[in-house]
Amino acid sequence: MDISDTIAAIATPVGEGGLGIIRVSGPDARRVASSLFRHSAGKLDELQSHRMYYGTINDGQSAVDEVCLTFMKAPKSYTKEDTVEISCHGSPAVLRAVLKLVIGAGARMAEPGEFTKRSFLNGRIDLSQAEGVIDLIKSRSEGAARAAYNLMEGGLSSRIDAVRQKLVWVQSHLEASIDFPDEDFQTATDEELVQALGEAVSRMERLIKSYDGGRFLKHGLALAIIGKPNVGKSSLLNALLEEERAIVTHHPGTTRDLIRAEAELAGIRVELVDTAGLNPAPCEIEAEGIRRSLKAAETADAVLGLFDGSRPWEDADTRVLEEMGKSPFHIAVINKTDLTQMLEWPSSSTPPVCVSVKEGSGLGELVSLIASLSKNVTTGGDDEPIVTRLRHREIFLRIAADLKRAAEEVGIGRELASSAVWDALEEIKRFTGESYTEEVLEAIFSEFCVGK
């Protein structure tokens, strides 16, 4: 990747807003902008940094738009490069026309997220924030986008920074007692240090836990639908997808193979898996289908057990209940509530949600239940950042381990505790990308295409 050229893009959301901004960044930004801009006050020698100019953008013959133009000299800009922002009238056509002129004058069309990429490469934001940008560009659901946005805005960074500050405090007390043995100041007691370390550990553990939920956000929560034949699994799938994806007939044993489909439910990406019904006396084809159903239930993040409310409880239902219970995250659903209810729900087990796929009743409740399933795994409140990247989770696991070790060692030897805290601080540098390990360099090479 070359970050020495000049890039340009429309920096505001597309639409009929009142204003739209075109951002130009790179060594040529000032020249590109000056060549198109005609100042209202007449001839202009050179654009001054951090001043706003009023005038027009011209295509050589006539004015294309009336604009306000601001030049920000490096490094005092978002990308830390020379940057020009041209504030135009918001119509998409005008914006596109101006952008075309800018490109014609020597800038290159920016790739998605490239301004931020530069901002990272030039050291303005940290690696985790830059990763947030990448996630945001790739995000496929509202929830994932929200988590990515939070990461990009430094939500996670700021939590980690708070941990870092706590550790720096601990470290300074550990070090002071080693490096200044003859001074007459008091350093923090072992108990105070252990407590501070404990707080840092629980912060890390909450973040680590949020990963399970975070992973759902990013890759989608895999949800397997299981049940006896003919209870309405395929119908439910279709209803959730709002599309006739699976074949539905009144014959038990219609579905033989797994059907996977993606849906976005209340802002959460969900991968739904429709399965073959668990027939207690299957034929050969059905038996293979059932084997696959069970496998799908086992590997899914969560399992939805479906029951037919219009039929009495059978042994096969008990089996479904058992299989469903094997997953820590599960929902029991009774279908066909539009018909006369014959099912006697075994009172000891999880209370079910009642729906009628046919009439569409109860589906809203079911959707929000599925959505909250993934949040269930993330323990914190809504403002807690969610960890979505494996790289982050692994770093946090190591930090938690280092800090637990440190807490144990405070009483044994402060130099040992200090060594463990040092390890944790190094891990934090990997997170923010301040470290020079192969791992961090690798992350930079692969995600940012540096050098390609």
Partner: protein, 619 residues
């Protein structure tokens, strides 16, 4: 006059530099304003402390002098941090400063190839970017192939006591004002720093009877690995405290403080504040402690450690007299602050050679450090490299992962310094590996291979290493378990009884077990306490040492990638202009050094890697 090497200055840096250069076979001149001031301790009469202690032993392992001279001239010997783990233990020796000077002088006078010349340097001669000699104040010129400048606090030194300013390098000695001019002409730039020292007190006017005593350790530890065990009578230090009244008097005098009236412009050390600074920065503290340290057996001077000051003399006397024991005290020499020029050390390679002038080296306080040990460590390295340059041998660079001297020099030459730089153990990321006990095994090989450490000392180290290894090995194969006979033995030594049979190696890792304390570890008569102690450290710290070694290994691939000394950074696209400038300024010799330049990001480093690869491919 003609020499291979001229060392300017005979302070702690100059002594090691001159000794090393001469011992490596170069005809060497040590130029000093007065022979009587060789190895003078300008400030506190002590050698060692955390971090510093490691440096002293590293100097010893490389074949330098400081450890031996300290052992021979101590007044009191102590091990610091003895309640903490062995990795952070440090020695501190109160020195008899007069004896220190004379013993050091004696040793230098005996070195072949070394001439001590009295005189003051006024300019560095250079030709075509190479140092060619030194001009003296009396008009003579000494020609040389390399010059090591170790002029301490003398460059444009200015002493302050109250509002009175006296030009001076330190108490009673003239500053050096022409030499910095000459260096500036060569392109060297300077900054200004400040440090201070307390008044010296007359022992006969202090009432010691009611004061808390601090004794030395018995037996005294020795710094040097190779000298005889220290056997000297020790003197006590005494502890006194400032009080409310002391602080009041100090505060009342701020109007006449050069620090608070803005007279002093240089930046002082944060970690070694003057008493007026302490009173301002810690207004809630009702008392600070002060150690009364003897300066020499043959003088009446007492050094009150902890109250360095530049307040007026009458204030110094008044606040001293508020402390119990000092009611009648008389001041022999006033406390003062000194401001001096230093050359920001990013102008140096990690060999301590200046980037601008080949064959010109800087060592000691001129590089912005403070402390005798820091100065001595740099002096040794500069002396070695000057000699190797003259002999056309490869430069010696000490790595961060192998020595505290390496940490210090890397910090200085990569980061520079904004305040007087002092070593701390926390500056070393590999502290558990860089211990003061193992400096010999870390560095003797190097000291010997460059020809500075005598053969005998090297062989002794290797033999000791073997013995430690065999002791450790034997502890792996002997098991200890809860059988009655063992139990009785352990209980009689106050050692815990293991629940099942485990190798002694494992047993020693327990925090409540020490090899020394039990006969269960077999007959240890064949081993010295030092050897036993070191085996124990290696075993107890095994996990940590492993972890740090792994870390060093992980980094070393990046760390050791060499960079061209005169690489052109100005046109690397993708690097910010600021970074290009910094790289051009520091001119790092390895990727590791580049990575530590302030403002450097891994992304920038990645770009650097690519650039190097494409450039290499093109050539």
């Amino acid at each position: 006059m003609d020499f291979d090497i001229v060392v300017i200055g005979g302070g702690h840096a100059g002594c090691e530099a001159a000794h090393a250069a001469a011992r490596l076979g170069c005809s060497t001149a040590m130029l000093i304003t007065s022979r009587a001031s060789i190895a003078r301790m300008s400030c506190n009469p002590a050698v060692g402390g955390p971090g510093k202690s490691q440096i002293v032993r590293e100097i010893d392992a490389l074949g330098g002098l400081m450890a031996r001279v300290t052992d021979e001239t101590g007044l009191q010997y102590r091990t610091l941090n003895s309640s903490k783990g062995p990795a952070v233990r440090a020695y501190r020796v109160q020195s008899d400063t007069a004896e220190y000077e004379s013993v050091m002088r004696g040793k230098l006078e005996k070195v072949n190839n070394l001439s001590i010349i009295e005189g003051s340097a006024v300019s560095i001669e250079a030709d075509g970017g190479w140092a060619t000699g030194v001009a003296l104040e009396d008009g003579t010129t000494i020609s040389a192939r390399a010059v090591v400048v170790c002029t301490g606090t003398f460059l444009n030194g200015l002493l302050h006591t109250g509002l009175v300013q006296t030009p001076g390098g330190r108490y009673g000695e003239a500053p050096s004002s022409r030499l910095p001019e000459s260096l500036k002409r060569l392109g060297i730039t300077f900054g200004r720093l400040k440090t201070g020292t307390p008044p010296r007190l007359d022992k006969n006017t202090i009432d010691f009877s009611a004061l808390e005593r601090q004794e030395g350790d018995s037996p005294p530890p020795s710094f040097s690995y190779f000298g005889p065990a220290v056997e000297r009578e020790q003197l006590p230090c005494h502890l006194i405290h400032t009080n409310h009244k002391t602080h009041e008097i100090i505060r009342a005098a701020f109007g006449r403080s050069p620090l608070y009236t803005g007279l002093i412009k240089g930046v002082g050390p944060r970690y070694c504040p003057s008493i007026e600074d302490k009173v301002v920065r810690f207004p809630k503290r009702v008392s600070h402690h002060v150690f009364l340290e003897p300066v020499s057996r043959i003088s009446d001077e007492i050094y009150p450690n902890g109250i360095s000051t530049s307040l007026p003399l009458d204030t110094q006397e008044a606040f001293l007299r508020t402390m119990s024991g000092l009611e009648e005290v008389r001041i022999l020499k006033a406390g003062y602050a000194v401001e001096y020029d230093f050359a920001p050390p990013t102008q140096l390679y990690p060999t301590l050679e200046t980037k601008l002038v080949a064959g010109l080296y800087f060592a000691g306080q001129i590089n912005g450090t403070s402390g005798y040990e820091e100065a001595a460590g740099q002096g040794l390295l500069a002396g070695i490299n000057a000699a190797r340059k003259v002999k056309r041998e490869g430069a010696v660079i000490l790595k961060r992962s192998e020595s505290f001297i390496g940490v210090m020099v890397d910090d200085l030459t990569t980061l520079g310094t904004e305040e007087p730089y002092r070593i701390f153990t926390s500056r070393a990321e590999h502290r558990l590996v860089l211990r003061q006990d193992n400096a010999d095994t870390r560095l003797c090989g190097l000291g010997h291979s460059i020809g500075l450490l005598p053969e005998g000392d090297y062989n002794a180290t290797m033999a000791k290493r073997e013995k430690i290894a065999s002791l450790m090995e034997s502890l792996k194969n002997v098991y200890i378990g809860p059988i009655p006979a063992t139990r009785a033995k352990l209980e009689s030594c106050g050692l815990p009884v293991p629940e099942e049979s485990i190798p002694l190696w494992q047993y020693i890792k327990r925090p409540d077990v020490s090899i020394q304390s039990g006969t269960v570890f077999g007959d240890l008569a064949a081993f010295s306490p030092d050897e036993i102690g070191r085996a124990e450290i290696e075993i107890k710290y095994e996990g940590y040492i492993e972890r740090q070694r792994r870390w060093i290994g992980q980094l070393s691939r990046i760390e050791n990638i060499p960079l061209e000394e005169n690489m052109d950074y100005s046109d690397i696209s993708g690097l910010s202009i600021e970074l290009r400038q910094k790289l051009g300024e520091v001119r790092p010799l390895t990727f590791g050094q580049a990575s530590r330049i302030p403002g450097m990001t891994p992304a920038a480093l990645a770009i650097l890697t690519i650039t190097l690869k494409t450039r290499a491919r093109r050539n």
